[in-house]
Every structure is written in C-alpha cells, then in structure tokens.
C-alpha cells in the first residue's frame, strides 16, 4: 500500500490533522448551527475550495509540461466582472442577474484561457513567460474593471457560490467537488488523460503518434482559466465584494505546490487530479492550523517551511530508506549512498 503514490500525501494530511487534534482538542468540533455545519473542518473545506479548483486546472497544465502563473489574475478579473455586473443591477437579489454575472465572468475567463493557450500552443512561447504576461496585465485589467475600488455587492444568489450552504455543507466545496468529478470523468473516461500524459511525457513522440498537441495544450489552458474563473467567483462571493488588487494574490504558488505535493511532476507526464485535491486540502489545513494554533504572524513562514519540508521528506523514498537503515543499524553512520540514475529526471 505504501507503494501507492497518494499514500504519503494522505499520511501527511492525516498527520497534520492529528497534530491539530493533540494541540487543540476542539479543532475537530463540528456543530449544527443556523441550518448548516459549523467548525474548523468545514472552514477548511469552504476556504480550500478555490484552491482545489485551481489546483485541478493547474494539474492538467502541468501535465503538459506547462505552468500557468496567471490564475491569480484570472481570479481577480472574474470576481471583478461579476461584482461589477451585479452592483449595477436594480435588484441585486435576482437569480437571473447573478447567473448573467457568472456567465459573463466565466466567458471572460474562457477568453483569457484562449489567450494563454494561444501564446503557448500556437506561438510556442515558453509557458512561464506566456502566462506571466497575463499575470502582470491581468491585475491591471481587474483594477480597471473595479476602478481600483472594492466593489461590494449584496446578492443572495451570488453569495451562495462562496459562503452559502447546501445540505448543510458549504456550497463552494460542493461546486469544487462537482468540477473535480466532471474533470475526472472527462479525463479518465475519455482518452484525454492518456493524450495529455503523452504530450507532456514526450511531446515529439506524441506528435509523431499523431496527437493534435496544439489543440490539447490549448484546451488545458482554457480549462485552467475556467477553473480559476470559478474560483474567482467563490472568493469574491465569500466576502461579497471584488478586490481587483488582492484577490488571488500568490494563489498560483499555492496551486503549483498543491499539484506537486499531489505527486504530479513539473516536468510533465503522469498526473493525478486526486493528488492535487489532497495537496490543496493539505495546504488549506496548514493555513487553518496556523490560525487555530495562534502561531505568531512572524513565525508563520518558518512553520510552513518546516511542515512542507517534513511532508516532502516523508514522501521521499530516499529519505525513508535512510531513516529505516539508520534505525536498523543503530550506531555506525550509514554508508554513502551510491548515486542513483533515476535522480531528478
């Protein structure tokens, strides 16, 4: 079982939760309040939903050997556009208005994804700078939409996306899970997954096998932008407002981290959507843990460094082997490991 590639990320997640339980027994308390579930675990799911979504999109991009730095900007833009539309409505609570806002925002996200995909797949620009362009310009676009102000909205239907509850659970996590399910079915029940993995694993081989890699890569960027767009709606709906400058700041780093913790290599090829979801939950748990344990703001970074390091070492087969050896042969220090060919390919 330890062979399974999701084993160690799951162990890490459970270990972190266990740590919380020990230090802070009430961490797991869940109550029923105002018709919905209430507790730290629920917060992790609710606040982690946008990250989960983006990590799902990012996974596919990473699997094609790409990277998308612009997700944060797309988050900001989509939230901004939706809130702008709603704030202009006579009746902010109209479901139709909220739906239109969502549609517009996702439409724009789609266009942004097309743009990224065009730069990468058609013009052949290296993904990191191709998406850097939108990362830089996108913040500006978001602020252009909001006029540099925070747009506050009061729309019940819209807020449902971010802070609402359905069947007692945060609707955000339900949306994220729905997207995950759709993506997983789409990718694994069709041949998309195999094709993406081939294009990422060996692009030239994929080309010669007749794959339409341009379209495929393009598609992953569009999907990633859509995920980021939905995440943007959640983030803005959660606080009933759109903040062009701060929404989704640095979320690209967290998303990539989630993807990598989930076992997908940045060098492309094999990917695991489930792994990314677990990675995202791990990161969100870490954040919530920091707040719940009352770690001082100036120590957060150190704390994160230590936890992520521990997670990664736990996942590293070399480290586990060394640890096991040390435990077996107690006093003499372990001999130098011969260099392994598999190293970092």
């Amino acid at each position: 079982m330890t062979e399974h590639r999701l084993f160690w990320p799951v162990v890490a997640l459970l270990a972190l939760l266990l740590g919380d339980l020990i230090v802070h027994p009430a961490f797991f308390a869940i109550e029923f309040r105002d018709g919905h579930l209430y507790g730290n675990l629920i917060d992790i799911l609710k606040n982690g939903a946008p990250l989960i979504l983006i990590a799902i999109g990012m996974t596919l991009v990473v699997a094609t050997r790409g990277i998308d730095l612009s997700v944060g900007a797309v988050v900001a833009i989509s939230g901004a556009l939706a809130c702008l539309h709603i704030s202009g409505l006579g009746d902010q609570n109209s479901v139709g208005g909220a739906l239109a806002a969502v549609g517009m925002a996702l439409g724009l996200a789609l266009v942004l994804g097309l743009w990224n995909g065009w730069l990468v797949a058609v013009l052949g620009i290296q993904p990191i700078i191709a998406t850097l362009i939108l990362m830089v310009a996108g913040r500006g676009i978001a602020q252009l939409i909001t006029g540099g102000q925070i747009i506050t909205v009061n729309s019940g239907p819209y807020e449902w996306i971010g802070s609402g509850f359905t069947f007692g659970l945060p609707s955000a996590i339900l949306i994220a899970l729905a997207v995950f399910a759709i993506a997983a079915v789409l990718v694994r029940r069709s041949a998309l997954g195999l094709l993406v993995e081939s294009v990422g694993g060996n692009p030239e081989a994929g080309r010669l096998a007749g794959l339409r890699s341009t379209r495929l890569i393009w598609l992953t960027y569009v999907f990633c932008a859509l995920c980021a767009g939905i995440a943007g709606l959640m983030i803005s709906a959660n606080v009933h407002s759109a903040d062009g400058n701060n929404a989704g700041q640095f979320i690209e780093l967290d998303a990539i981290l989630a993807v990598v913790i989930g076992g997908t290599q940045l060098t492309g090829g094999r990917f695991s959507l489930t792994g990314s979801v677990i990675g995202a939950l791990l990161i969100q748990t870490l954040t919530t843990t920091v707040y719940a344990l009352g770690i001082a703001p100036q120590a957060i970074m150190l704390f994160k460094a230590v936890v992520v390091l521990a997670v990664c070492l736990l996942q590293s087969p070399v480290f586990r082997r060394k640890l096991a050896r040390r435990r077996k042969a107690a006093p003499p220090s372990p001999a130098v490991q011969p260099e392994k060919v598999e190293a970092g390919v």
Binding site: Q126, I129, A137, G140, G148, I300, F319
Partner: protein
C-alpha cells in the same frame, strides 16, 4: 563582396538567435524612447538601468545557472531579504565591522543554497518545492530577526553607497554596477570555459545521460544551488548598498522577476540552452519597459500594469518573429 553582402550573408547560429533578436528589440525600444521623451536619450538613462538593477542582475546570474541545469530557484527573493536584514542587524545592533559582515552574509546565502541543493540531489525533492521551502524558511528567518525595516548608518556603507564612479561627461555608475558586471563576466567565463560550466549545460540537456557519461551530476547540481544562494546573498549586499537599509519585505516576488529576465533572455526553462549575456539583456528589457512607463508618467496604476503586460507581450512576440525572420 560589399559589406552589405557580407552582412546579408551572415547567418547567426540558431542558438544565438534569441539573444540577437532581444538586442534588436532593445535598441528599437531605446530609439523610440529617445525620440519621444526628452532626457531619455542621455546615456545616463542606460546607466541608471544598470544602477537600479545591479542587485537583480547578480541574482539573475545565479538563477541562470540553476535554470540551465533544468532547475528553478524560488528562494532568491527571500535570501536577498535575509541578507539585507542580517547585514542591518549585524552592522547596527551587533556592531560588526563591514569586512566581517560581508563574508558572513555570503556564507549564510551559500549555506542556504547548499541545503536546498542537498534536498534536491540527495532526497530527490523537486526543485520547485525544495526552493519554495527555502523561500519560506529564509523569509521566516527575516521576520524572526526583525519585522521592521531599519536603516544602516555605518559610515563605510554610506560612503560606498554614495560613491559614484564618473565615466566622463555627466555620466556615472555605482560600485554595485561594477560588482555586477564582474559577476557577469566571471559567470560567462565559467559557463563557457570550465568543466563545471559545461557540466551545467550537460545536466540541462539530459541529466540521465550526463550521469551515464561519468559527469559528477550530484556535485554540480548541489554547487549550482549553492552558487545561486551565494549570488542572492551578494545581490542582497548590493541592495544594502543601494538602499542602506535592511527590510524583511525586500524582494517579494523577486524570484519571478529574475526567472522572467533569464527566460526573456532566451534561456530555456527546461535547461541546457542559454547564455548569461541573454540574462543581462532580459533585465534590460524589463528595465526599459519600466523606464518607458515612468518617462511617460501619465498612466495610472492599472494602466501601468496593463501596458507593462502589453510591452512584455510585444517584446516576446517580436523576439520570436525577428528570430524566425533571421533564419
């Protein structure tokens, strides 16, 4: 054969194309600026590009090594910040002399880089995460030393910081520029003319093969991250000279700027191809975009971002088109 024919007959090597294209673009941008804004044409604007970006240049040189091996180093911004904070702390609070602070800071940077290199090489942790851990760690150390920026009023630092090296006319550069240029020259030499440098390229080309060719992949990879840590620390020291202060918030997002500069300079993020000179040009591109916008001075904040993105787009796309045209 007329000169024109000879120029026409010149066929640059494929791998030099990105650099040539970037150079053409830079000259174009400079000419545009000089014809549109007064004082842009004065040579000092170009020198200011170097003065303002000297520390970044040093950081990006270290990053170039890392990217050439196919890796990435996200920790540079934090290590820069840590270096400034440690310098400030040692100079101001501990009363260390400048000559002791410099080696200490460089050693810390190199040690952090070494640690990340070991994580990557020995424990096979992906460079992205290993250096992200380094990023968190170094930034965390900054905050534990100080959550506030503070000034350095050490007289040596002040005089070094304010020394201007005249170049005739009104033109001058700073000490930081000299250091950065020396670093660039040494790096270019190492990459071109030493076994270590060639091993760096080999690892970027195909790490598995490099190992089977009998190259010392492990040591080189660790060295490269150590070198990047060292360069970041040196960049931090230059930043101390530039600002005479230490600030835990220094260099937030710097890693992206450095990576962008390296990649715009034509280095492949997958490793194995690129030049230090390209990195210099990459920094110039980012610098000149910013300078053009500042000289224009009529854009508000969001248009600044949008136009920056648009100019970046123009540069990158033209760079590709120019590159294709020349072939």
């Amino acid at each position: 054969m007329t000169t024109l024919d000879r120029i026409k007959g010149y066929r640059p090597r494929q791998r030099h194309l990105p650099i040539l294209a970037t150079m053409v673009m830079l000259i174009g941008a400079y000419l545009y600026g000089a014809s549109s804004y007064t004082a842009f044409g004065s040579g000092q604007v170009v020198l200011d590009l170097f003065i303002n970006n000297a520390f970044l240049l040093v950081v990006a040189v270290g990053m170039t090594f890392v990217i050439l091996t196919g890796g990435i180093d996200l920790s540079v911004g934090s290590v820069v910040a840590l270096s400034t904070v440690v310098s400030a702390d040692l100079l101001q609070n501990q009363g260390w002399p400048v000559l002791a602070v410099i080696p200490a800071v460089l050693a810390i940077g190199a040690a952090l880089g070494f640690g990340m290199g070991v994580l990557i090489q020995v424990f096979e942790i992906q460079p992205f995460i290993a250096t992200l851990i380094g990023m968190f760690f170094a930034r965390g150390l900054c905050y534990t030393i100080s959550t506030q920026a503070y000034s350095i009023d050490d007289p040596t630092v002040a005089s070094l910081a304010q020394t201007q090296i005249p170049l005739g006319g009104e033109l001058h550069i700073s000490i930081g520029v000299v250091v950065a240029l020396v670093v660039v020259a040494v790096a270019a030499y190492v990459l071109y003319g030493t076994r270590f440098g060639r091993t760096v390229y080999a690892i970027g080309g195909n790490p598995k093969s490099a190992l089977l060719m009998g190259l010392n992949v492990g040591r080189t990879r660790i060295s490269v991250y150590t070198l990047s840590g060292f360069c970041s620390a040196l960049g931090g020291l230059l930043l101390v000279l530039y600002k005479s202060s230490g600030d835990p918030l220094n260099g937030v997002g710097l890693e992206l700027t450095a990576i962008a500069a390296v990649v715009i300079g034509g280095t492949l993020l997958t490793g194995g191809s690129g030049y230090v000179l390209g990195t210099v040009l990459g920094i110039m591109v980012l610098g000149i975009i910013q300078t053009l916008i500042t000289f224009d001075g009529t854009l508000n904040s969001w248009w600044t971002s949008i136009i920056t993105g648009a100019l970046l787009f123009a540069f990158i796309v033209l760079q590709r088109l120019v590159g294709r045209r020349v072939t």
